[in-house]
C-alpha cells in the first residue's frame, strides 16, 4: 500500500517508545491464535493488549509465544477490575509476568455499559504512577477527566468512542476533538469502533492512534478487516493533515460558469 506521505508515516511516540503503526490491537475475541497472528500481520500493529487471568492447565498454545513470534510488544490491561486496589494489584502482577511497566488501566464502574469509574480510575492512576508505571488509562469521553489524568502524568489518554464491544462508533465526536485540545499527551481512541470509517473519523478528529479489538476479531473476516483498519488509520491521518474544506449550506459548483455552450 502506497500511502506513504511524511504525515501518515510520522511515528507516534508514547513515553519515549516510537510506534510506526498508529493502530493498537486488542487480542480478545479471536477464534484461534492462528487467526490472531494473521490479523496482527494484516494490521501491521506493533502494540497489542492482553489480559491477565488464571492459568488454564488445558489451554492450547501460549499466547505470549505467539505474540513474541509476531514481533509485537505487549500492553497488559486491567480489564475486569472494579476498584483501584484491584487494578493496582493486577498491574503489579502484569509487570511481574511480562516484565513491562506499561499498563492499560481499566477500572470499570458499570456491568452493562462497562463505562469507567472516574474516581477509582484517578486513584489507581495516581498510585501506579507513583510506583513507576507508564499508565495509559481507558477513560470516558469527558475532556475534564482526560485532562486530570494527563495532569497526573499519564503517558496517553484512551477515551472511548462508545461502550466496549458495542460497535456504535464515536457517539460524541465533539468531545473527542475537545480532548485532543485539552491534553498534550497522545490521544488513543479506544472502544466502540464498529468499522473502518469509525477509525478514520477518530484520526480526522485529531486522535494520534486508535485501539481496535472486537471490530476486527469478531468481524466475519477478521484478517480482511484488520487490513481495512490499517488503511483507515492512514486515510484519517492523511485527511486530518490535509485540511478539509468548510461545510457549506448550499452547493458550490466545481466546474466553471464561464464558457458554457449556448445550446437552447
Amino acid at each position: 500500500m502506497e500511502l506513504s506521505t511524511a504525515t501518515a508515516r510520522e511515528p507516534l511516540t508514547i513515553a519515549g517508545r516510537e510506534l510506526r503503526s498508529r493502530l493498537l490491537l486488542g487480542t480478545g475475541g479471536f477464534q484461534s491464535l492462528e487467526l490472531l497472528s494473521e490479523a496482527i500481520a494484516a494490521s501491521a500493529t506493533e502494540l497489542v493488549t492482553v489480559a491477565l487471568r488464571r492459568v488454564d492447565p488445558g489451554a492450547h498454545g501460549s499466547l505470549v509465544d505467539v505474540l513474541e513470534r509476531a514481533g509485537v510488544e505487549l500492553l497488559p490491561n486491567t480489564a475486569g477490575c472494579h476498584t483501584a486496589r484491584d487494578a493496582v494489584v493486577t498491574a503489579r502482577l502484569a509487570r511481574e509476568a511480562f516484565g513491562t511497566n506499561w499498563i492499560k488501566l481499566e477500572v470499570i464502574g458499570d456491568e452493562d455499559t462497562l463505562l469507567p469509574d472516574a474516581p477509582e480510575l484517578l486513584r489507581a492512576a495516581e498510585e501506579l504512577l507513583a510506583d513507576g508505571f507508564v499508565v495509559l488509562p481507558y477513560t470516558t469521553d469527558d475532556p475534564v477527566l482526560a485532562r486530570r489524568l494527563a495532569d497526573l502524568g499519564c503517558a496517553a489518554v484512551m477515551p472511548l468512542g462508545s461502550p466496549i464491544g458495542s460497535g456504535m462508533g464515536i457517539r460524541n465526536p465533539y468531545n473527542i476533538s475537545l480532548i485532543r485540545e485539552a491534553v498534550d499527551v497522545p490521544v488513543v481512541l479506544d472502544a466502540g469502533v464498529g468499522t473502518a470509517s469509525d477509525v478514520t473519523l477518530a484520526m480526522e478528529l485529531g486522535c494520534d492512534a486508535v485501539m481496535v479489538a472486537s471490530a476486527i476479531s469478531r468481524a466475519a473476516d477478521p484478517v480482511r478487516m484488520a487490513g481495512a483498519m490499517r488503511a483507515a488509520v492512514d486515510a484519517g491521518r492523511l485527511a486530518a493533515g490535509a485540511g478539509r474544506i468548510p461545510r457549506r449550506r448550499y452547493a458550490r459548483a466545481s466546474s466553471p460558469i464561464e464558457g458554457r455552450a449556448a445550446l437552447d
Binding site: 486488542g26 480478545g28 491477565l52 494489584v89
Partner: protein, 67 residues
C-alpha cells in the same frame, strides 16, 4: 484450606509455593506467569522458598486474549 485459582486443594500448611505452581502443569521458569498470595504479588525469586500457610488463597495468572 489452601485455595488454588479458586479451587479448594488438599495442600497442607508448609507446602512450598512451587508445588502449587507445578500442580497446574507449569514449570517454575514458565514465561508470562505471575503469582499472588492473599492478594499480594509474590515475586518469582521467592517461589522456591515461600511456604504456604494454613488459610491461603493462591492465584497463578498468565496472559489471556483480551482488551
Amino acid at each position: 484450606m489452601i485455595v488454588l485459582n479458586g479451587e479448594r486443594t488438599d495442600l497442607v500448611a508448609g507446602t512450598p509455593l512451587a508445588d502449587a505452581i507445578e500442580r497446574l502443569g507449569l514449570s517454575l521458569d514458565a514465561r508470562g506467569v505471575a503469582v499472588a498470595v492473599d492478594g499480594q504479588v509474590l515475586p518469582r525469586s521467592e517461589w522456591q522458598s515461600y511456604r504456604l500457610a494454613e488459610e491461603t488463597r493462591v492465584e497463578v495468572l498468565t496472559a489471556m486474549q483480551g482488551g
